[in-house]
C-alpha cells in the first residue's frame, strides 16, 4: 500500500483526503481546526487516519498541504515588523494606494492602515527613469540612514521597492546588497524579485505581504517538515499555491506570497477536476463552509485566473485562481430590522460559537439552524463526529426572531433560507454579468460542508438546470492539492507597441523567462518529469488603463510573431468586452510564462453498478415550499453507480447533507458523484 494525502485547513474544519494509490480509493476525514496552535490539527488527523484506517506514515508517498497560516497572519495583522525603502518623493505610496476607498457611499469611509506605516518608510536618494536609464544613482548614505532608521524602529526585515524598478532592477539590487552587507540579520525582499511588474503600489504591496508573512510561514513549514519526518513520513511536503499549483515546502519559506490563497484555489482546482470526471466542462463552483461562501467560474474545463484578489484588507497582484466571496456561509446570522424586514448577514457566528444547533454556545439564529429546523440536518453526525446537530437549540434560536416576523418557527426558518438564497443570487448574478456569461448554461458544482445543502435551492433561483454533488463534498479542497501540478508564474513588463519592431524584444524576453522557469522547476524544485510552458501577454489598446491576459501559441510567441499576438489580442478583447478594433494601436504591457510540471493524478475508483432504485434508510419529515413533506433519507454510502433518485429527498453523509427539492432528479455517476437535473 502507498498513500498520497491532501490536507486543507479551513476556518472550522481541517479536511483530509487520502488517496490509496493501489485501490484508487479516496478516504475523506475531517477534524476541528485549531487556529491557536496551527499544525496541531494536521497531527491529530494523521493520528486518526492511522487509528481508524490503518494508514501508516511510512506508507505516505506524497503529502500536499494547504494552509491558512499566511492569510491569517495578514488578517490578524500578526506579521513581521518591517521597513519600506522607496524612492524619495514617493513615500506615501502605501497610504494613497490607488486612492479609491473600499466603501464609496459613507462619509466615514477609510482605507485600511497599511502593513507598514509611514514612520517605517524611508526615502532612498536615487531615480530610475521610465526607460530604465538611471537619472540619479543610489546614494549609499541614504541607504545607511534608512537602515539606521529601520533599526531604531525595531524592524526585522526590509522591503525595497523603487520607482521604475520593474524596468531596471539595478538600483533595488544595489540597495539590497548594501543591506545584506551592513545588516545581515535583517531579511530583505526586492519588489522586482518577488513580482517585477509595472505599477508601484501593486508591486510594493505584493512584496510587503511576502515579507510580512515570511517569518511565520517559514517557522510553520519548518516545524511541519520536522514533525512529519518524526512521524515517519518520508515525502517532502508540498504546499498548494494561490495559482492552483504546488511548490515544495522548502521553497514556500521564501516565496510565501505564492501560497496565501492556497485553500480556496485548490478547492476550485479540485472542483474542476471532479467536474471533468463527470463530463461537465462549464460550471460555477459553490463552496460553502461554516464561515465562508465562495463561487468561481469554470469555463471550458478551466478555472479563471486574476490579479488583485483580496487578502484581508489588501489586494494581491499575483496570478490567483479567481474566487468571489458571496457571504459568510452557514454561520451567517438572521435578524429583523426596525421596518420588520428579515435580513441574513453580514454578521456571522463564525466557527466560534458557530450555529446554535452545534451546541457550542451560539444563541443567535444562523442559516445552518434554519436548515436544522426545517428537518434537513441532524440525521447523521457532521464532520466525522466532530459536531452533532441539536435541532431543539436551533428552534430556540429562531424563536427569538419568529415573534418579530409574526411567523411560526418553521415558517421563519424557511424564510431565512429563502432570504439567504436571494442574497447569494445577487452575487452569482453579478459574477455572470462580470464575465458576460449566461449562468443558465452552467452547472452548479456544490461542495464544502454546506454547499450541497443550499445548492439546489440556489440553482432553482438562478434557473440553472444541473447541480453536481461530488463524492466527498467536504474535502474537495484537500483533493485539489492531490491533483495539482508543480507550477510557477513568471512575468516581465515590456511596455511595447504591438508592432513588427517589437519582435526582437519579445523573442529575447521569452527566452529569458523560459530560462528562469526551467531553472525554477529543475534546480529549485528538483523536478525531473515532463513540463508544459504556457505563454501569454497582458495587453491593451492604447489609452486603456487596464490590461487583459491574452493566451498565445507557444511557437509563435517564442518566435516573437507580432501578427499572431495582435490577432489573439483582438479576439480576446472581443470575447471579454464584446468589441474589438483592428485599426486601433495595441500595446504589450507584460509578457508572461507559466511552467507546470505534471505530478501523477489520482484515478478515482468506480462504484459498483446497480439498476435498481436506491433504498432509503428511512422516511423523514422536512419542510420546504411552505409545507411539511415526508421524504426519503438516503445514506450516501448506500448509493451505487447508475442509481436514480427523485426529489424531494435528502442524502446524508459524513461531511455534508444534500437537499434535493421537488423538480430535481438525480443520477449517481460512475465514481459516485451525483448529477442532479431540473426537470422541465
Amino acid at each position: 500500500m502507498s498513500y498520497r494525502i491532501g490536507v486543507d485547513i479551513g476556518g472550522t474544519f481541517t479536511d483530509f483526503c487520502v488517496f490509496n494509490e493501489k485501490t484508487n480509493e479516496l478516504t475523506p476525514l475531517k477534524v476541528l481546526s485549531t487556529p491557536a496552535t496551527p499544525g496541531a490539527e494536521v497531527f491529530e488527523g494523521m493520528r486518526q487516519l492511522g487509528e481508524r484506517h490503518g494508514i501508516e506514515p511510512s506508507r505516505v508517498t506524497g503529502f500536499t498541504h494547504g494552509t491558512t497560516v499566511g492569510i491569517n497572519t495578514v488578517i490578524q495583522r500578526k506579521g513581521a515588523r518591517m521597513a519600506l525603502f522607496t524612492t524619495e518623493g514617493f513615500g506615501d505610496v502605501l497610504e494613497l494606494a490607488r486612492l479609491r476607498m473600499p466603501d464609496t457611499t459613507s462619509l466615514f469611509c477609510a482605507r485600511p492602515e497599511p502593513l507598514i506605516t509611514k514612520e517605517r518608510v524611508f526615502p532612498i536618494a536615487e531615480r530610475m527613469l521610465a526607460d530604465g536609464t538611471p537619472e540619479r544613482s543610489v546614494d549609499e548614505a541614504s541607504v545607511k540612514a534608512a537602515i539606521a532608521g529601520a533599526r531604531a524602529k525595531g524592524c526585522v526585515g526590509i522591503i525595497v521597492s523603487l520607482i521604475n524598478g520593474y524596468r531596471n532592477p539595478a538600483h533595488e539590487q544595489q540597495v539590497k546588497a548594501i543591506v545584506e552587507r551592513i545588516a545581515p540579520d535583517l531579511f530583505v525582499f526586492c519588489s522586482t524579485d518577488v513580482w517585477p511588474v509595472i505599477r508601484e503600489y501593486e508591486r510594493t504591496t505584493t512584496t510587503i505581504i511576502n515579507g510580512y508573512i515570511h517569518p511565520r510561514v517559514a517557522g510553520y513549514l519548518t516545524s511541519l517538515q520536522r514533525a512529519l519526518k518524526e512521524r515517519g513520513v518520508r515525502a517532502e511536503p508540498l504546499i498548494t499555491k494561490s495559482n492552483g499549483g504546488v511548490m515544495s515546502a522548502e521553497l514556500g519559506k521564501r516565496a510565501c506570497v505564492g501560497m496565501v490563497m492556497s485553500g480556496t484555489a485548490s478547492g476550485v482546482m479540485g472542483a474542476s477536476y471532479v467536474a471533468r470526471a463527470c463530463g461537465v466542462s462549464d460550471a460555477i463552483t459553490l463552496d460553502i463552509g461554516g464561515t465562508s461562501a465562495d463561487v468561481a467560474l469554470i469555463d471550458k474545463g478551466k478555472p479563471q485566473f486574476g490579479m488583485g484578489e483580496k487578502i484581508g484588507d489588501f489586494p494581491l497582484y499575483m496570478p490567483t485562481v479567481s474566487v468571489t466571496s458571496i457571504g459568510d456561509g452557514g454561520g451567517s446570522i438572521a435578524w429583523v430590522d426596525d421596518f420588520g424586514v428579515l435580513k441574513v448577514g453580514p454578521e456571522s457566528a463564525g466557527s466560534d460559537p458557530g450555529p446554535a444547533c452545534y451546541g457550542r454556545g451560539g444563541t443567535r439564529p444562523t442559516i445552518t439552524d434554519a436548515f436544522a429546523v426545517c428537518g434537513f440536518l441532524g440525521h447523521a453526525p457532521l464532520g466525522y463526529n466532530a459536531v452533532t446537530v441539536d435541532p431543539a437549540k436551533a428552534r430556540t434560536a429562531i424563536e427569538t426572531i419568529a415573534g418579530k416576523l409574526k411567523r411560526t418557527v418553521e415558517d421563519t426558518a424557511e424564510a431565512i433560507i429563502k432570504v439567504a438564497i436571494s442574497g447569494m443570487f445577487v452575487e452569482i448574478n453579478k459574477l455572470g454579468a462580470r464575465y458576460g456569461i449566461d449562468t443558465r448554461d452552467y452547472a452548479l458544482m456544490t461542495f464544502g460542508g454546506a454547499g450541497p445543502m443550499m445548492g439546489c435551492f440556489l440553482a432553482r433561483e438562478l434557473n440553472m438546470k444541473r447541480v453536481l454533488v461530488p463524492m466527498a463534498p467536504g474535502v474537495v479542497c484537500a483533493l485539489g492539492g492531490l491533483i495539482a501540478d508543480m507550477k510557477n508564474d513568471f512575468i516581465k513588463t515590456v511596455y511595447l507597441d504591438a508592432a513588427p519592431a517589437a519582435a526582437k524584444a519579445i523573442k529575447a524576453t521569452y527566452a529569458e523567462l523560459e530560462k528562469k522557469a526551467v531553472a525554477w522547476l529543475r534546480s529549485e524544485q528538483g523536478f525531473k518529469g515532463k513540463y508544459t510552458l504556457t505563454y501569454s501577454a497582458d495587453m491593451n489598446y492604447q489609452g486603456q488603463s487596464f490590461e487583459i491576459e491574452v493566451f498565445l501559441d507557444a511557437k509563435k510567441a517564442k518566435a516573437g510573431d507580432v501578427r499572431h499576438i495582435l490577432s489573439a489580442f483582438h479576439k480576446a478583447h472581443e470575447a471579454i468586452y464584446a468589441f474589438s478594433d483592428d485599426n486601433a494601436g495595441a500595446r504589450i504591457v507584460n509578457l508572461r510564462l507559466v511552467i507546470a510540471g505534471a505530478l501523477p493524478k489520482p484515478k478515482f475508483a468506480r462504484l459498483r453498478k446497480s439498476t435498481r432504485p436506491p433504498k432509503p434508510a428511512k422516511q423523514i419529515e422536512v419542510r420546504f415550499d411552505g409545507k411539511r413533506h415526508k421524504v426519503p433519507l438516503y445514506h450516501r454510502a448506500d448509493l451505487l453507480a447508475g442509481q436514480k433518485l427523485k426529489g424531494p429527498a435528502v442524502i446524508a453523509q459524513d461531511d455534508a447533507t444534500t437537499c434535493v427539492p421537488p423538480g430535481f432528479a438525480g443520477t449517481v455517476a460512475a465514481h459516485g458523484d451525483i448529477i442532479l437535473s431540473k426537470r422541465g
Partner: protein
Amino acid sequence: MAIDKVTLQILANHMRAAAENMAYTLYRTAHSTFVKETEDFTVALTDPDGTTCAVPLDLGATWYPGLYYGRAIRMIDRYEEGDIGCTNDPYSGFLATHPPDLHLWKPIFHKGKVMGFAVGHIHNTDVGGAVPASLSRALTEIHQEGIRIPPTKLYRKGKLNDELLGVMLTNVRVPEQNWGDLKAFVGAMNVGERKVKEMLAKFGPKTFSEGLDALLDYAEHQAREVLRAIPDGDYFFSDYNDEDSPGGHPCRFALTLKIRGDEAVLDFTGSDPQLNSSINIPTGGDPRHTLMLVGVYYVLTTMNPNILLNSGLTRPFTCVLPEGTVVNPQFPAAVGMRSMSCGRLRSLIYGAFSQAIPERMPAAPAGSSSIMNVMTTDDRTGRRILAAINPIVGGGGGMPHGDGSNGSGADSAYLKNTPVEITEAEVPVQVLRYGLKPDSGGAGFMRGGLASWMDFKVFSPHSKITARNRDRSKFRAWGILGGKAGQLSNFIINPGRNSEKILGNTDFVVVDPGDVIRIFAPGGGGRGSPFDRPVDKVLTDVERGYVSVAAAEREYGVVIREGTVDRNATEVLRAERRAAEPQGRHFDLGPERETFERIWTRENYDDLTRLLAKLPVHWRFFVKTKIFDAANAAAASGGGAGIGVDALYRRVREEIPELRRMAG
C-alpha cells in the same frame, strides 16, 4: 401594504441583482476608458411613473438614487415594446443635469402594460460645443455646451433611429467613442428589461408592482427613522465656491435646514443669483431634485449604512429653490460644470447637519478634486499626447471616531489615481513627487485628512495643463467643535524659482520645457480641539511626516525636541493656548472667510438676496458683480467693514442709469 416583509427582502435582492447586472454589462462592454476609469454612469430600475426604485452599489456614480425620469418620459406620447427614449437636454424635464450626460429609458411591458423602466445615464467625453470635452467654467449659455437632444425615441419597436443617431454623431468630436459607449449602454437597458421580465415571471405582476411601492416605502421609512433621531430646529449654514466665474467674486450657497419630526425642509434662499458661467445647477425647482440631495444621501448612509438606496429616501425632504438662482437657473443658463457647485452643496448640507447632530457628523471634507489633463508632444516620436494624470484630491474631515482619511475620502472616495510608473511610461512627463502634503489637514482632536500633492516636469514646448474643478484656493474646508479649517489648495508653476507663478483658482495653463507644475488639493477640516489630541498621536503624526515639528507646536501645542516630546513645556503651552481659544464656536471657517464675511455678513447677504430677487433674472448676476466691485473698492479705500448693501447698491445705480430706469 400587501407584500410581506420576507418577500420584500427577496424582491429587493432581485432588483439589486438586476441593477448590478445592468451596471456590469455597461462597464464591461463600454468602449471609452473614461467610462471604465471614472465610472461616471448610472443604471437603475424605475416604477411605471419613472421613480427610481433600485440602483447598483458596486459600480457607477453615487448621485442618482433619487433621480426622477417621469417628466422626461411623459414628453414622449406613447410607448411600445422595444422603444428606448433618450435625452441629454438639461432643460427638457430636468433629467439630464448637463449635456455630456445622455440618459436612456426603456419601458418594460407585461401583457401590454408598462410595469417599469430600465434607465440610466452615461457621461460622454464630448458632445460637441465650444470646447473639447464640452465642459468649461467660462461658458455662459447652454448652446455652447454641445448638441442637445430633447426626449426622443432612439429605438422604435426595437429599431434604431438612424437619423437621430446621425445628427448626434455629426455634432461630436469623437463619434466612434460615443457610438461604442452607446451600444454598451443599450445592451445594459436590454439586460434590465430581461431581468425584470424574469422577476415578473417569478413574483407575478401584482406582487412585483406592490413590491416596487413597498421598496420606496421601505427606504422612506429608513430616512424618516434617521430624521426622527435628529433634534427639531432650524439650522443655517452658508458656504462658497472661490469664484462665480473665471476671476469672479465668490459664489455663495445658503441653506436653512428645518427639521420637524421625521421631515425636513431645505431652504436654499440666499444662494447666489444664476451665474454667467457654467456652474449653475439645473433643477427646474423640483423640491426633491436628486442633485440637491446628494449630500443628504451621504448623511443618511453615514447614519445608517444599511439604508436602501432609492427615491423613497427623498420623500421626507422638501427643497425650496428660488427661481433664477444658481440652484434653479432659467434657460439658457450654462450648466456644464455644475459638478463644482454640487461639491459645495454637499459641504453646505454637511455643515447644516453638523449643527443639528454635532456628535455624529464629521468636519468638512476637502471639497475639491482637480481632474488633471496634460496635452503635450512626445519628443521621441513626435506624437501628440492627451492624457489624464492623477486626480488631485483632498482629505476627509475629522470624524467622531477617527482622523479624516488622507488623500481622498468622504464624498470623493470613488476616484482612482494613475500609477506614477504608468504616467511616466505613457506621457512624456517626469513626476518629481506624489504624496501627501504635510500640515494640510485641519488641526483637531481628530485631524482633517491630508491633501494629495504632485510635482511634475514637462519636456516639450506649448504643453497644455488643465485642472478641472479647481476650488478651495480661497475658502477653506471648515473645522468643527474646536477643530481648525484645513489648508487651502494651490496650483503653482516653477515653485521656488524666479519664474514662479501662483495660479490659485485658475484651471488652465500652457507651460514649456523644464517647467515644473505643482498642484495640491485642500486639506480636510479638523474636529474637536487640537489641544485635546493625545500627545502621542501628535508625535506619531510628526514621525509620519503628516505634521511638522513647527505645526505640532503652533497648532497642537505639543513641543517636540529631537524626536521626543517635552512633556512639561507641552503642558504649559497647551494650558496657555486653551485659555486663549474662542469659546462656544461651532465652526472654524478659516481667516480668509472671516475677513470676507466682515463685509459680507449674513445681514448684508439677506439684503442682497432681497434686492436681487426684485430684479429681472438677466440683470441679477450683473448687479451682484457691480455691488461686489463697489464693496471691494470701498474696502480698498479703508471703508469696508460695516458698509451696507443698500449703500453699495445706491452707488451702483448712480453709475448705471439703465438700472435706475428699470428697477424704478
